[in-house]
Amino acid sequence: MSDATTLTVVKMDGELDIGRRAEIRHALAVEGNPSGVLVDFGDVTYADSSAISELLRFRNDLNRRGLPVALLIKSPQFKRLLEYAGVNEAFAVFDERGAALTYLGNAAS
């Protein structure tokens, strides 16, 4: 089903809070049938509970569609927040882009 050559990248930055909920939801609405999705939150420093719940719902959606997802995180504060929320248990989380891409490549093949 999946097209091995395409990879969807979702990139956001700054602080993700309830004021950006619609934007987050829109960004995470992945269409089509890519081989995988890289959520590049490398420049995100903060996410409140509403942003995190969007992220979790997104993961659930992609899981149902059988699409592998990698979450790229760099800010230690943000990483700690995701730890509170157990997001690191639900996602494949990476702090380096290459590792994330490798993971997606392996998952797709």
């Binding site: 993961r59 899981n63 929320a85």
Partner: protein
Amino acid sequence: MPLVFLVLVVPILLGGGHLVSRVLRESFANSDARRAARTLNFTLLKDQLDEETGVRGFTSIADPEFLDPYAAARRDFPGKVSQLRGRLSLLAIPGAEALLDDAAGVNGQWLAQVAAPLLADPHTPEARVVQFRGKALIDRFRRDSERLDSALVAREQGDNRRLQSAIDNVSTLVFVAVSFVVLLAAVAAGAQSRLTARLEAARRRAEAEARANLELRTAFETEKRIADTLQDAFAQRPLPVVPTLVFSAAYIPATDETRVGGDWYDAVELGKGRVLFSLGDVEGHGIEAAVNMSRARQALISAALIDADPAAVLRRVNGYLQSAGRMATAVAGYADAVSYEFVYATAGHPPPLLLLPGRRPALLDCGGLPLGVLEDCVYRTRRVQAVPGAVLVLYTDGAVEHSRDVLEGEALLVQAARRALENNVTDLAASIRTEIFGGRQVGDDVAILTIGFAPGETTRMTFASNNAQGTVISGARGVGPVPSSGSLGAAA
């Protein structure tokens, strides 16, 4: 309005009717008199002529039989004159009575000067002269009679005109009056209806305003009552009094207007030395968040009464909130005064802070997805061995995310807890709050709950503290950078 109509119209109609009926009555009476007068006048003329004819016949033929009409006329004449006079006086026609008088006089003259000599001697030599005088008198009588008749006819025409005019006048009057009244009634009705409409509109506006005010006031009072009730329920839920356990709590609403937020804490004695604790945060602020918070905390207590395992409790509450479409984070568990253990599980919630006498405060493990986001989440129960004097500090994310740098927030919290411990404060939660926030405005709600084992039970402390160290260290996480956990991702 109908009263005005009656008052104006009824007298006019009655008056007009009365006038018409009077004129008609008069007119009928006059008409009878006139008719009778004309007949009598005519009869008198006929009598006069009968007399004359009779006398003339007698004169020519000298047969007394010719005198029968004369005699009859002569006999009836005076009575008829008197009757006619009565009618004429009733009719009061100017000059009419004079004409009758003249005619009666002429008749008298004729009887004296014509009839009498001829009857006395039909063959008198002056017969011819007498006949001529008689003819003149008869002509005069006839003229009088004709004039009288003309006067009566004229009177009849006048009466008819008067009747017609009276009827016309009355009709006009009634018409004008009725028109006036109808117009007045219409104008008044218009004014009345406009006034009624204005009054009705004003009344409706007033009612609508009153209703809106009432609704507003009701809504306001309802909201205030709910807010107060929830706030009171929140603020007043008593912390349990248990030997060997010490509690403190603090709650800071985000702002004064939204006193009630989505944060809660509970400590409920379960028996056998166990005290349930729960602390959490439902998404949002205000009444709706407060209501959802209330549901979540009750659901949590209910689940805890069924299940002793905190992870199972959170799993149940997750199912409940997920079906309700509400998101919350929570930490729940119990303090066991017999085993000196803290047992807890977290769901998307910041880590509990453990304070042990003589040791650095330590943030414990956390994790687990927030409640109400995804179905079938699995949570993990963690056990921490405590000692007398050990305190577990639970807090909502507002306590560490106020600057949006959660690591800095954690450091501040740890520092605040250490200071509070050093100062040996009685109300630990309030002291931590003050250390963190001072008098600053708080962006988010903050709830803090501390559960501590009473210090000073030497035997237990010795026993437990030896046991505790290893467990605590293994379960706790120090403050500092978090190791990357990339490999954990394949969870699903």
